[in-house]
């Protein structure tokens, strides 16, 4: 054993000597990395289409800024088509985008059906489709986004926990009934409630993603059930209204408000810090943007054909509570992402 050890030591020392002698020679010549040239060539001059449901809100602005920041340095162009909440305008925009033959299109679906066939057509023509946050029935090259069911489960679990030893009465403030994100989240809520028969849902209403409606519903519910112990909301932009109703009733801290969103500082961390929300499950938008950009880089440089590969990147969720709301990393600023 000892012998082998000694011999090994000698060999290592010898190898070290050889390396020392060889190093200066390498430094003088430089070594070509054979893959980066092909990578740059695969990306340069290519166009990526971006079709959100609408611009001008934290999620879609954040994705756009993040993807641009990642891809533009490689000579890629990101073009936006803004259908401004109109599904038919979106379908038209997607059709024209396909005829312009970009390398890839990022699609934010308004529902699970409308764009499905168009996306299939695009991939047949060799355009990679990246779906973000809202998937459709057609599975394309990549889906990058939140797992809504998990969001519903985590929000509800937190509310159930907060209700222990209290009235066990909770309320649910849903989004718009037509939105799949709302329906998926509700499924998550149901999954948890099935395990907790002691919890009583005193109200489960749709507020159409509208803060004023959410406030009106919550106010009425709180008047009927002042001993309510928690509320599961489906989007922080709407639940500003839910929280305002709780605050007006003087129940901040007594009624646990759980919601979810994209984690933009003013809409998420600031509101958790102020006590409006007790939990805001964030599907961190900059991470999603980076994931999308990474997918595009990989797909374009891999030589894979559209329609051949299909996969998903579900976003790792960040629960924002009073503990991390003050940290610099839990939330993001749109202005920083745009720099």
């Amino acid at each position: 054993m000892l012998n082998i050890g000694k011999r090994l030591a000698t060999m290592v020392a010898g190898a070290g000597l050889v390396a020392c002698a060889a190093a200066p020679a390498l430094a003088q010549k430089g070594l070509d990395e054979p893959f980066q040239g092909a990578f740059k060539k695969a990306l340069a001059g290519k166009t990526v289409g971006y079709l959100p449901v609408a611009m001008n809100f934290d999620l879609t602005e954040g994705w756009y800024a993040g993807v641009k920041k990642e891809l533009e340095p490689y000579g890629m162009k990101v073009v936006v088509r803004d259908p401004n909440w109109s599904t038919s305008a979106g379908a038209q925009a997607l059709t024209t985008l396909i005829s312009e033959k970009p390398a890839a299109i990022i699609v934010h679906n308004p529902d699970v059906q409308t764009y499905a066939r168009l996306m299939q057509r695009a991939e047949k023509q060799g355009i990679f489709i990246i779906q973000v946050n809202m998937g459709s029935v057609y599975r394309s090259a990549a889906f990058v986004g939140a797992n809504w069911i998990e969001i519903g489960e985590r929000d509800t679990e937190a509310v159930v926990k907060a209700c222990q030893g209290k009235s066990n009465k909770i309320a649910i403030v849903q989004g718009a009934l037509s939105a799949a994100a709302s329906a998926y989240t509700l499924k998550g809520v149901e999954n948890v409630l099935a395990k907790h028969p002691e919890i009583k849902v005193v109200s489960s209403q749709a507020a159409d993603w509208d803060a004023a409606k959410a406030k009106a519903i919550t106010q009425t519910v709180l008047k009927q059930h002042p001993d309510l112990c928690g509320i599961v909301g489906f989007w922080d932009g709407m639940d500003i209204g839910t929280a305002a109703a709780v605050k007006e009733a003087g129940l901040t801290g007594k009624v646990f408000v759980a919601t979810s969103g994209g984690g933009e500082r003013k809409g998420a961390c600031e509101l958790v810090k102020s006590g409006a929300f007790d939990l805001n499950v964030s599907y961190d938008v900059p991470t999603q943007a980076a994931d999308m950009a990474a997918m595009i880089k990989w797909l374009l440089s891999s030589g894979a054909k559209a329609g051949e590969v299909k996969g998903s990147i579900y976003t790792t969720l960040i629960p924002i509570t009073n503990e991390n709301a003050s940290s610099d990393t839990a939330c993001w600023n749109l202005s920083d992402l745009k720099k």
């Binding site: 809100f57 803060a211 009425t220 007006e248």
Partner: protein, 323 residues
Amino acid sequence: MTLKRIGQQEIVLGIFVVLFVAFALFLPGFATTANMLTLLQNVAVLGILGLAMALVVIGRGIDISLIAALAVPPGLVLQMVQDGHSLPVSIAAALALALVFGLLNGWLIAYAEVPSLFTTLATGLFLAGLGQAALFKLDVVQWSEGMSGFERLGQGSLLGIPTPIIAFALVCVVVALLLRQTRIGAYIYAIGDNPFGARVTGIPSRPIIVLQYVLAALIGCFAGLVLASSVNSMPTRIFNSTMIYDVILVVVLGGIGLSGGRGGVFNVIIGTLLIGTMLNGMTIMDVSYSGQNLIKGVILLIAVIIDSFLNPRNEETAQQGDI
């Protein structure tokens, strides 16, 4: 009272009373003071908008751009304060914007003689687009530090009464005084009843029409400030919602004919109360969303059908501008 004198107003009042009594008797937790205040508070913004719309509709016009006036100038206040301007300066800028907007509407309708429906449809889109493209960074304009204190307009209370209700009452009194006690009010009714007759008799109808749209825009802006301060943000996307139909509904349901010249503040109050009672009762019962729409539709249909039975339309009663 003979059957003939029962109009839309009485029918809706009747439905409201029946609904209210039924809820009070059979729905525990409905007829409490706290719930009544919530009910009123939840429809206060709708009621204020209804008053603005009533002012215009009585003068035989319509203002589809009201939601833009609700969303954009108050949104500007929040955005400017967020950008570091002082609150008074921001409010002044918003009022100026609403004023200019009302003047533009009024000028196009009274002087350029473009029909009010098309004018306000276009100007509303314009103002909302301007807000989205040039004024706001994001759809939802968030509350910021500089606004602190101002939220009392939407969240505070005075002698136990939530401030939105007081705001609604205040606008009710102002509009009622304007319509019933001033010469301008009388002119608005005259123009609504018979615009050509009004002009022939020497009423300055064009300036009065401009005034109507200016007042509507300013009241809309005020409603927006109440809304924003009550939810601590201005969701400017509200322009894309169906809220304008609710506003027209309140006005028409209350018995202010779209053909102009009839009705007043009381009609708006009845319409608002009926909508508020329905919404509140159904929320307490936890009726599903589609169920709520169904019930709302049925009750509105009943009101309209009873009206057309009791007050059949014929060549004599039908007026130009009837929708």
